[in-house]
C-alpha cells in the first residue's frame, strides 16, 4: 500500500528546516524503521536517522510519530498509514542536528547530574550481600522497571514540564535517581535526597504523566517520581 510520510528535514549546519513528503510502497509487517531504510535506499541517500538493534532494546530510533514520541522500530507502519499521512518529527526538548537526529547532549547532562551510578564506597567488595532480602516487594517491581529503561529519551522529549523549565532533569534522570535511591547498597543516599529536592529535581515534576504514556518499555517514570515524593514527605 502506498503511504505518505510527511517528514521533518534539516540539513547539517543549517538554521532552517523544511518538510518533505515521501510516498512509500509500504509492505505488511514493515516497521517505521523499515520505511526509513527504504526512503534512504530508494529516495534520498542523504536522509538521516539513528538506528542500531531494530528490536526495541537499544533506544536509538525514538522519533515523534503523529506528535508523540515512540521507537520507529517498534511501530508498525501500515496501521498508521491506513489512517492517513504519517507525520514524523525528531524528538523535542532538544536541538536537532540533522533530519531526525536529535542532539542528546541536554539529555545526557540531566542523566549525569544525578550521579547515575551505584556508590559503594562503604563496602568495596561484599559478595555475600543479599541485598534483595532488604528490599520489599513493592520496591522490586518498580526497580525492575527502572532497570528496563533504554534511554531512548521519549519521555524527555514529550515532558511538558521540561518544555517550560529547562532546568528540570526530566523523567529519565528521575528514574535513574530512583534506581539508586532504593538500592540499599548505595552509599550516596544523602546526595540522592538533596538532588531530588533541589530546584529542577524530581520534586518539581508536575505529574502530566506523558512519560508513562510514551515509554516504549513501560518503565512508568511517574511512579518512580511519586515514590520519591512520598518517601521524602515521610522523612
Amino acid at each position: 500500500m502506498k503511504v505518505k510520510y510527511d517528514i521533518y528535514r534539516k540539513k547539517a549546519g543549517a538554521n532552517g528546516s523544511y518538510r518533505e513528503t515521501f510516498e512509500v510502497d509500504t509492505q505488511p509487517g514493515w516497521t517505521l524503521l523499515d520505511v526509513f531504510h527504504e526512503i534512504q535506499a530508494k529516495f534520498d541517500p542523504s536522509f538521516s536517522y539513528r538506528y542500531s538493534c531494530r528490536g526495541a532494546i537499544c533506544g536509538s530510533c525514538a522519533v515523534r510519530i503523529n506528535g508523540a514520541a515512540a521507537l520507529a522500530c517498534k511501530t508498525q507502519a501500515l496501521p498508521l498509514g491506513e489512517q492517513g499521512t504519517v507525520i514524523i518529527d525528531p524528538l523535542a526538548n532538544m536541538p536537532t542536528i540533522k533530519d531526525l537526529v536529535a542532539d542528546f547532549a541536554v539529555f545526557w547532562e540531566a542523566y549525569d547530574k544525578v550521579r547515575p551510578y551505584l556508590d559503594r564506597t562503604h563496602d568495596a567488595h561484599d559478595d555475600t550481600l543479599t541485598w534483595e532480602d532488604k528490599l520489599s516487594a513493592r520496591y522490586l517491581d518498580q526497580l525492575s522497571r527502572a532497570v528496563d529503561c533504554i534511554k531512548c529519551a521519549s519521555c524527555f522529549s514529550d515532558c511538558p514540564k521540561r518544555s517550560e523549565d529547562p532546568n528540570f532533569i526530566g523523567p529519565q534522570a528521575s528514574v535513574q535517581l530512583f534506581k539508586f535511591y532504593v538500592d540499599p547498597r548505595d552509599a550516596a543516599h544523602d546526595f540522592r535526597v538533596t538532588t531530588a529536592k533541589a530546584p529542577g529535581g524530581v520534586v518539581d515534576c508536575d505529574s502530566h504523566a506523558n512519560c508513562v504514556k510514551v515509554c516504549p518499555k513501560d518503565v512508568r517514570p511517574l511512579r518512580a517520581i511519586n515514590f520519591i515524593k512520598q518517601d521524602l514527605k515521610q522523612e
Binding site: S46, S52, C53, H125, D148
Partner: protein, 567 residues
C-alpha cells in the same frame, strides 16, 4: 578532506560494548595515570551487547566447579577452543560476576540471596546467571554508569575508518565525528579493538544493524589475521525477521514443535532435547523445515504455553513483548514462529590469551577478537562472559605492556596518515557504477545461499566467486554527500567495505575446511576430522592484496579432544 584534530592517549579503545567498557573501567580503576579513550560509532548504551538476553555463565554455585564449565565449553566448541584461553574464561567467570555485582548489576537471586542460575544449552547443570531476560541490557547500562563515575573520555558517535600501523607497530586510529563532521587522528601507545561481530554479512541475522565487522576488517587490513572466520553461529530460534528469541525460553522449559505437533528434538538429541547445543538444534530445525515438517511460513514453533502466564510474564517478559510486537503473537496464547538466524561470529582477530594480536601494541577482545574460547560453536551464556573476562583481561595486559614507558616510532606517521586520508577521499571520487544498497543485498543473499547451515563444495565455490566479484565492484562505489555530519550514505559504504572483507575471508576459510565441525557443517564432509582439521584457520592479506590461508595447531593442555560429539 583532511585531519582537523589530533588527540594523544595511552590507550585508545574502539567499541563500547561489554568488552570495550570493561577494559576501559579496569584500566581506569587500577591505573588512573593512564589516559584512556573509548571511541564508538553509536552511544555506548546502543551497543549490541545490550541485546543479549539470556545470561552469563559462571560456576558461582557452591557445588559447581570451573573445571566443569571448562569441559562443557570445550566440548560445545568441538574442541577447537584453545585450552589455555578456555581455562581463563571459566576460571575468571565467577570474578566477573562479583565485579558486575559490585558495580551495581541487579542479578536475579535465589531466596537465600545467592545468584539465581538457569539451564542453558550444552551444559550439564544450571550455570547461567541472569537479569530476567535482559541480561546484556542490564550489564551494559551498569558498565556505562561506572564509565560516567570514572569520568572516562568517551568519543560517542565517532566512526573509525583506519587503523594506522607502521611496520607491524600500532600508532592510532583515524575517525570522524557524526555530530560535528570533523576528522581526528587518535594517536595512542596501545589500541584495543572491541567492536563486536559481523553477523550482518548474512541476510537472515539476529544482529543489530551496526554489526558490520568494522574492527575485524580494519584490524585485518592493518595486518592481523582473521582466525576461524568460517565459524558463524546460527541461532536456532529467530523470528521470521531475524530478531532473536533467547535460548532462555527453552531454558525455562519451552518446546520446539513441528507442524505435526511433535517435539522433534527427540529424534536428534534425545537426552538434551531442546537444550542441546545451538548448532545441533539449528540444524535439526532446518532439517524439519527442509523435509516438509515446517509450517507454511517456513518456520517451526516454539511453544511456551505450558509454562503458564505467570512464568512467562516474570521470567520472559521481553520475549513476550518481542513476540507480540514483531511477530504479532502472544506466547501465552499461541506458539511463536521461529527459524534459524545467524547470530554470532566465533572467529575474529587473532589474539593470544593476553588479548594481544600479532601487531605490536594492538589488542582485541570480545566478539571481534578470537582467542579462541568458543571454538567451532559458542555455548549460550558464554558471549557476555567472554566480553567481560577478556575485556577485563585486556584492561590488565595493556597497562602491563605499557609499563616500560614504550612509545611507538612516529617518523612515518605523516606519510601513513596522508595515505589513509587519500583512500578515504577516494570514496567520493568513485565511478559510481554500482550502488551500495544493491551490492549489500547481493552479498547478504550470497552468504545465506553459500555459507548457511548446510554447506558443500559446489555452493561455497560459487559463493566465493560471487563475493570476490562483489568485492571488485565495490571499488567503483561513489559517495555523493560530502558533508560528514550523520552521513549515512558514507557510513553504509564504509560498512559494506568492511563486511565484504570479512565475507571474503569467511568464504575462503569455509571452502578449505573439508570437515564438519560445530557451526561449519558440510553435506560432502559430514564428519569431524581431527587428524587434518583440529587446527585454527588464519586468513591474511599478502603484499599483492591477495588473501592467503594458513593453519595453526589448537592449544591442548589437559583434555584429549573427542573423536565424535554427541549429546
Amino acid at each position: 578532506m583532511e585531519i582537523n584534530e589530533r588527540y594523544q592517549y595511552d590507550v585508545a579503545i574502539m567499541g563500547a560494548g561489554l568488552a570495550g567498557l570493561s577494559a576501559a573501567l579496569t584500566v581506569a580503576e587500577n591505573h588512573p595515570d593512564l589516559q584512556v579513550a573509548v571511541l564508538s560509532k553509536v552511544h555506548p548504551v546502543r551497543s549490541h551487547s545490550g541485546a543479549a538476553q539470556g545470561g552469563i555463565n559462571a560456576a558461582v554455585a557452591a557445588d559447581d566447579k570451573w573445571e566443569d564449565h571448562y569441559y562443557d565449553t570445550l566440548k560445545g566448541g568441538w574442541f577447537l577452543g584453545d585450552q589455555d584461553g578456555v581455562q581463563i574464561l571459566s576460571k575468571q567467570a565467577a570474578d566477573a560476576i562479583y565485579t558486575l555485582d559490585r558495580w551495581g548489576a541487579h542479578f536475579n537471586r535465589n531466596e537465600d540471596g545467592t545468584f539465581a542460575q538457569r539451564p542453558f544449552g550444552g551444559q550439564r547443570r544450571n550455570r547461567t546467571c541472569y537479569v530476567a531476560d535482559k541480561t546484556g541490557h542490564a550489564l551494559l547500562n551498569t558498565l556505562y554508569e561506572k564509565i560516567v563515575e570514572k569520568n572516562v573520555d568517551v568519543f560517542s558517535e565517532w566512526f573509525v575508518f583506519a587503523v594506522i600501523v607502521d611496520e607491524g607497530r600500532f600508532l592510532g586510529y583515524l575517525a570522524f565525528s557524526h555530530n560535528t563532521g570533523r576528522i581526528a587522528y587518535f594517536a595512542a601507545r596501545a589500541g584495543l579493538i572491541a567492536t563486536g561481530g559481523a553477523g550482518r554479512i548474512f541476510g537472515q541475522s539476529s544482529n543489530a544493524l551496526i554489526n558490520t565487522g568494522d574492527g575485524m576488517a580494519l584490524g585485518f587490513a592493518a595486518g592481523v589475521p582473521l582466525k576461524d572466520i568460517e565459524f558463524f553461529q546460527i541461532h536456532p530460534t529467530g523470528l521470521p525477521n531475524g530478531i532473536l528469541i533467547t535460548e532462555g525460553a527453552r531454558g525455562e522449559g519451552g518446546y520446539l514443535i513441528n507442524k505435526d505437533g511433535e517435539r522433534f528434538m527427540k529424534n536428534y538429541a534425545p537426552n538434551f532435547m531442546e537444550l542441546a547445543p545451538r548448532d545441533l538444534v539449528a540444524r535439526s530445525i532446518q532439517r524439519e523445515i527442509n523435509e516438509g515438517r515446517g509450517f507454511d511460513d517456513g518456520c517451526v514453533r516454539l511453544d511456551l504455553r505450558h509454562l503458564g502466564a505467570d512464568k512467562i510474564k516474570t521470567k520472559l517478559p521481553q520475549i513476550r513483548e518481542i513476540a507480540m510486537y514483531f511477530a504479532g503473537v502472544d506466547p501465552i496464547e499461541e506458539p511463536i514462529p521461529v527459524r534459524p538466524t545467524v547470530h554470532y561470529t566465533m572467529g575474529g582477530l587473532d589474539t593470544n590469551s593476553e588479548c594481544a594480536t600479532p601487531v605490536d601494541g594492538l589488542f582485541a577482545a570480545g566478539e571481534s577478537g578470537c582467542v579462541s574460547v568458543h571454538g567451532a560453536n559458542r555455548l549460550g551464556g558464554n558471549s557476555l562472559l567472554e566480553a567481560m573476562v577478556f575485556g577485563i583481561r585486556a584492561g590488565e595486559t595493556i597497562p602491563a605492556y605499557l609499563a616500560d614507558g614504550k612509545k611507538p616510532p612516529r617518523s612515518n606517521e605523516k606519510a601513513l596518515l596522508d595515505r589513509a586520508i587519500g583512500n578515504f577521499n577516494a570514496l567520493f571520487d568513485g565511478e559510481g557504477k554500482d550502488d551500495v544498497p544493491t551490492l549489500r543485498a547481493e552479498m547478504e543473499r550470497v552468504m545465506v545461499a553459500g555459507f548457511g547451515l548446510f554447506r558443500n563444495e559446489q555452493l561455497m565455490k560459487e559463493g566465493l566467486e560471487k563475493i570476490v566479484a562483489l568485492h571488485e565492484r565495490f571499488c567503483g562505489v561513489r559517495v555523493h554527500e560530502t558533508n560528514l555530519v550523520f552521513n549515512q550514505e558514507l557510513i553504509r559504504a564504509l560498512e559494506l567495505g568492511y563486511m565484504l572483507e570479512v565475507a571474503h575471508a569467511c568464504a575462503l576459510a569455509s571452502l578449505h575446511r573439508q570437515e564438519s565441525r560445530g557451526s561449519h557443517f558440510r553435506d560432502d564432509f559430514p564428519k569431524m576430522n581431527n587428524s587434518d582439521f583440529l587446527k585454527h584457520s588464519l586468513v591474511t592479506r599478502d603484499g599483492d592484496g591477495k588473501l592467503q590461508l594458513d593453519y595453526r595447531e589448537v592449544t591442548i593442555i589437559d583434555t584429549e579432544p573427542l573423536a565424535e560429539i554427541t549429546y
